[in-house]
């Protein structure tokens, strides 16, 4: 899970030569990664073909999509998926995929709404803190972010009148943006 763990060789003057600093940064990385990896896993599942994907494919996609920056200990994926399933965000069923019986995961209707909110919140948060970290973040134009709660609303979906998360009437905002 930690980038620092993947550093195999380092100079004796390097900060990570100190076990204390190594532990500190590893813990910090872990804290940052925890929420982000859940969000990325939800993103991968919601984008999957037919909306269904098995655990192993989730990890493969995660590695590829994040250029191997976000790598989690593979065994820890399944407790995370189970937790999301327990919370009603994901659902699973056994299906034959590539000639093998596998457990495939898909996002529930409620989970999709929660994912939209979380990705909207994370997007707006990253945009807001980007000047502090000297990075450039530009949110995509075909989404409207609810001014009340930062929920991500797809402008291509014509029927949406109220924000799914906080219930704010967003029709006027939508029309102005479209």
């Amino acid at each position: 899970m930690h980038m620092i763990k993947r550093v195999k060789e380092f100079g004796t003057q390097a900060l990570i030569a100190s076990q204390k600093i190594r532990d500190y940064v590893e813990k910090f990385e872990s804290e940052i990664n925890r929420g982000i990896s859940t969000l990325c896993i939800l993103a991968i599942i919601s984008r999957a073909e037919n909306g269904e994907i098995h655990g192993y494919a989730i990890l493969k996609n995660l590695e590829e999509e994040t250029n191997e920056m976000l790598v989690i200990e593979e065994g820890t994926l399944y407790p995370l998926l189970r937790k999301l399933e327990g919370n009603g965000i994901l659902k699973s069923e056994k299906k034959i995929v590539e000639n093998r019986m596998r457990k495939v995961y898909s996002i529930t209707e409620r989970g999709d709404k929660i994912y939209n909110y979380l990705s909207g919140f994370y997007g707006k948060l990253t945009e807001a803190i980007s000047p502090l970290l000297d990075i450039n973040v530009r949110l995509k134009d075909h989404y409207l972010y609810c001014p009340n709660c930062a929920n991500k609303i797809d402008l291509n979906e014509k029927e949406i009148q109220f924000c799914d998360m906080c219930g704010l009437n967003v029709q006027e905002l939508r029309e102005r943006r479209i």
């Binding site: 990890l59 593979e74 065994g75």
Partner: protein, 332 residues
């Protein structure tokens, strides 16, 4: 390396994980099997991908297992459930306080029963050490158990049976249909805490009964009853009328103004405790009770039992008044 040895490597790894998994998961046999099967499939997939010859080899399995992480880290993820709150998770906290409350009440009740027996047998001695030790023991044991359960990642639903879960789902759908609120603290549906019509009707009935106790309509046998007993009945009538009035007021207020309901329940508790003094008089002087063909000591025991019921009622009302807090800021 033979297939048998590769299988053994994977099985040993899974066995190691199984041993370290939390107890709540081990108890759910189907779920446990599902968890281990999914992990095993992943290992073979990974080993196949990492192998140069497109079928798993000893080294690719070893690499796949390294990618999986240690059995401890996987088991730790399954234990990472619940939000920490002073060593006991937030999710287990309501169950912890409920269990603590019930067991403390049991200790108090046992103490009261012994006290009543002592009073009845004339060997009463005030001794608070026993009850204090009992409560301290309950607190220590329950707290230690819940800290342990929190560390293992237990959640309240792990203690529920399949039927209970289905019943809760049904209750939730009724709540949604009727538009009742959901508690922000527990996430459980909140039913109205007062049935206004029932409360008003009950209050009126109580007031009528109270009035009969006070007026004591003249009957042919009233002269056979001890005047002291009739006086006690009148006092009891005043208490019953007061309780009826309070229920009537609660019914009129309805499912709002939690503080007023709590104040009224507190007054009702005081009134019910007042009846204990009347019952003690009757327990001490059973000869006052008319038309009862039993031995006097049996009448005393009967009133001791009624006192116990009144005390239990007072405890239950105290609990009700406290739990009304969850209805604050909730609109029905």
């Amino acid at each position: 390396m033979s297939q048998k040895n590769m299988n053994k490597m994977v099985k040993d790894y899974l066995k190691n994980i199984k041993e370290k998994l939390p107890e709540w998961l081990k108890e759910k046999k189907d779920e446990l099997k599902d968890v281990l099967t999914e992990l095993e499939e992943h290992i073979w997939d990974k080993a196949e991908e990492l192998s140069d010859i497109e079928t798993p080899t000893e080294s690719s399995i070893r690499l796949a297992l390294a990618h999986m992480g240690t059995p401890e880290s996987i088991a730790r993820e399954y234990k990472r459930r619940g939000t920490p709150k002073v060593y006991i998770t937030e999710e287990l906290w309501p169950l912890y306080t409920t269990v603590l409350g019930i067991l403390s009440a049991v200790v108090v009740i046992i103490y009261v029963i012994f006290m009543i027996i002592n009073i009845a047998t004339g060997s009463f001695q005030l001794d608070f050490l026993g009850i204090l030790l009992g409560l301290a023991g309950v607190f220590t044991i329950v707290t230690l158990i819940f800290v342990g359960l929190s560390m293992e990642g237990y959640l309240p639903e792990d203690f529920k049976t399949e039927e209970e879960r289905k019943r809760e789902e049904k209750e939730l759908s009724i709540t949604e249909r009727k538009g009742w609120p959901i508690s922000p603290n527990t996430g459980k549906p909140l039913k109205p805490f007062v049935n206004p019509t029932g409360m008003i009707a009950g209050g009126i009935v109580q007031m009528v009964f109270g009035l009969i106790f006070i007026i004591q309509p003249s009957t042919g046998f009233i002269h056979l009853i001890e005047p002291e007993f009739l006086a006690l009945l009148r006092i009891f009538g005043v208490i019953v009328i007061s309780e009826g009035c309070l229920d009537l007021i609660r019914g009129v207020i309805g499912n709002q103004q939690v503080t007023k309901h709590q104040i009224i329940i507190s007054i009702k508790i005081l009134l019910s405790l007042m009846t204990i003094s009347l019952l003690v008089v009757l327990m001490e002087r059973p000869e006052l009770v008319p038309f009862v063909p039993f031995e006097k000591h049996l009448i005393s025991w009967f009133f001791a039992f009624v006192i116990l019921i009144v005390i239990l009622g007072a405890i239950s009302n105290t609990y009700k008044a406290i739990t009304l807090e969850k209805y604050r800021d909730i609109n029905f």
